[in-house]
């Protein structure tokens, strides 16, 4: 049987998928199956990043010196740890990340729930309140009661 995708090599992977309650059979050769991210062995579930990182560890690219403007992470850091340093990395390394996400998830576009962060005024107030409450706790623990009373007043005003 020939591979449904390339029509050149023998199909060795027989993939059954269910979409909209209809069963689809897909017969693929090893290479096309791998391209679609189909795992053909059972023994150990591989970490999806593993292969990508190994492949890229062997190549050093010109962008290696580029640092994230917010957290200083470089491509080399990412290759070493498999982790980004901050949200801004996703913008700073956008092109590479798009390709990476395509490999890891088979897609790079989020279609799940959308999100809008709360207004900044509320946030600042919340951050200040959190900080003040922490300081109040420490003041009480260290028996600095005058400071504690002052902090309590400031919290009351904000609340």
């Amino acid at each position: 049987m020939l591979c449904d995708s390339c029509r050149e090599r023998d199909a060795v992977v027989h993939l059954t998928t269910i979409e909209d309650n209809a069963v689809h059979q897909l017969h693929l050769c090893e290479r096309c199956a791998a391209d679609r991210g189909v795992e053909t062995t059972v023994a150990t579930p591989k970490h999806p990043l593993g292969e990508f990182l190994t492949a890229h560890q062997q190549t050093t690219s010109v962008s290696d010196g580029v640092r994230c403007t917010f957290c200083n992470t470089t491509m080399a850091d990412f290759r070493a740890t498999g982790l980004w340093g901050c949200a801004r990395c996703y913008t700073n390394f956008e092109a590479g990340i798009r390709e990476l996400l395509r490999r890891v998830h088979g897609n790079h576009r989020h279609v799940g729930r959308s999100y809008r962060p709360p207004m900044s005024e509320t946030l600042e107030r919340a951050a200040v309140l959190g900080e003040l409450k922490d300081r109040l706790r420490r003041a009480v623990e260290s028996e600095q009661f005058e400071l504690a009373a002052d902090l309590r007043d400031r919290i009351r005003v904000l609340e």
């Binding site: 970490h47 917010f70 982790l83 996703y90």
Partner: protein, 361 residues
């Protein structure tokens, strides 16, 4: 300072009661969402001060989130290792957050908020890991709870969100929905009938993956598997859940079928094997963790097949949690060596089975 677990209304392990659907096969359902707070470097890149600011910002927000009104907060960075191990053994915090992972030492600002079936880990690999835990096969219920918590918290704390990539996470394998749904399932029938390889292979074709009892990197022991979605991007939360629901539903059916086949074709062999497992647990004087897990798997199967009638799934669930090393040490009130742990485990299991033994058999 020790951890006071009595502060938790149900000890944080309400799911042990085996009240959920299919709880003879499915132990628990967990859904977690990974989120990061805008304005700070991700946890491992952040400085101590940043992590503490993340914690105080989250703490302030949590105080006005309705589902966390009764939540208890534990500062992992202020607890001794034994207490942290206890929380980890209850599946309430990850190994990394508990600072029990040799690669990641305990970090300042590591904390967890725990309420009835809900948890918020702060300063894990991502700033926030929200999780909902339910007894049995209860994906929808768990999702409803976590989604509400996520919306409440997200309207008070700004999450890092990207229009194209979705919720941003330290590891690109979590980006998008940030959601990992996982079902802890007991599959001795499929293992004994040697069908398990096929089932696990088909899971991977369906975009799902499996792990051992303690999540990523842990070994499969006692025929307990955690099945979860592999990808988090490119499909909606509902689609991911739907897929998990259908595939795990199918696995549950195959397991039930395998158990029927076993009983029909190898009745007395199985019966003998399972009673031997029960006998060992009932009378052994020393048990390693793996041994206990494997024999408990056998006894759980025997209860599922109604060969042993007077033992409850609840007792078996409790044994899984309370026969772990940190729990035994906690019960004995002192640190235990490995061989003392094995003696203590056998004693604990023996006692629990004796108490329910009235009409066994």
């Amino acid at each position: 300072m020790t951890v006071d677990l009595s502060l938790l209304p149900d000890g944080g392990v309400g799911w042990l009661d085996a009240s959920g659907p299919h709880s003879d096969i499915v132990l628990s359902t967990r859904i977690r969402l990974a989120r990061n707070v805008e304005g700070y470097a991700f946890t491992r890149r952040a400085r101590d001060g940043e992590r503490l600011r993340v914690l105080s910002q989250v703490r302030e927000a949590v105080s006005s989130v309705s589902s966390l009104q009764q939540a208890v907060m534990y500062r992992l960075d202020e607890l001794p290792p034994t207490a942290r191990a206890l929380l980890h053994e209850r599946h309430l915090v990850s190994k990394e957050l508990a600072g029990l992972d040799s690669q990641h030492p305990l970090r300042s600002g590591a904390a967890v908020f725990l309420a009835d079936g809900l948890g918020v880990m702060v300063n894990e690999e991502d700033h926030l890991r929200l999780q909902a835990l339910r007894s049995g096969f209860s994906l929808q219920e768990a999702f409803a709870a976590i989604d509400k918590l996520d919306r409440d918290l997200g309207s008070r704390v700004p999450y890092s969100f990207h229009n194209e990539f979705g919720f941003l996470t330290a590891c690109p394998t979590n980006v998008g929905t940030g959601m990992r749904g996982s079902v802890l399932i007991h599959l001795p029938g499929l293992v004994l009938t040697k069908e398990i390889g096929k089932v696990l292979a088909s899971l991977q074709q369906m975009g799902l993956t499996y792990r051992g009892l303690y999540g990523e990197g842990s070994e499969v022991v006692g025929n307990f598997f955690q099945i979860s979605n592999q990808t988090t991007l490119g499909r909606s939360e509902e689609e991911l859940l739907d897929q998990l629901l259908r595939v795990v539903g199918h696995v549950v059916e195959r397991e039930a079928e395998a158990r029927r086949v076993l009983l029909r074709d190898a009745g007395y062999i199985i019966e003998d094997k399972l009673w031997r497992a029960y006998g060992t647990l009932r009378y052994a004087r020393s048990l390693t963790f793996d041994e206990a897990m494997n024999y408990l798997s056998g006894v759980r199967l025997a209860v599922g097949l109604k060969l042993i009638s007077s033992l409850s799934v609840y007792t078996l669930n409790k044994l899984l949690i309370f026969s772990q090393a940190a729990h035994l040490a906690y019960a004995e009130g002192r640190g235990l060596t490995e061989s003392e742990t094995n003696l203590s485990r056998a004693r604990y299991v023996r006692k629990a089975l004796e108490e329910e033994a009235g009409s066994v058999g």
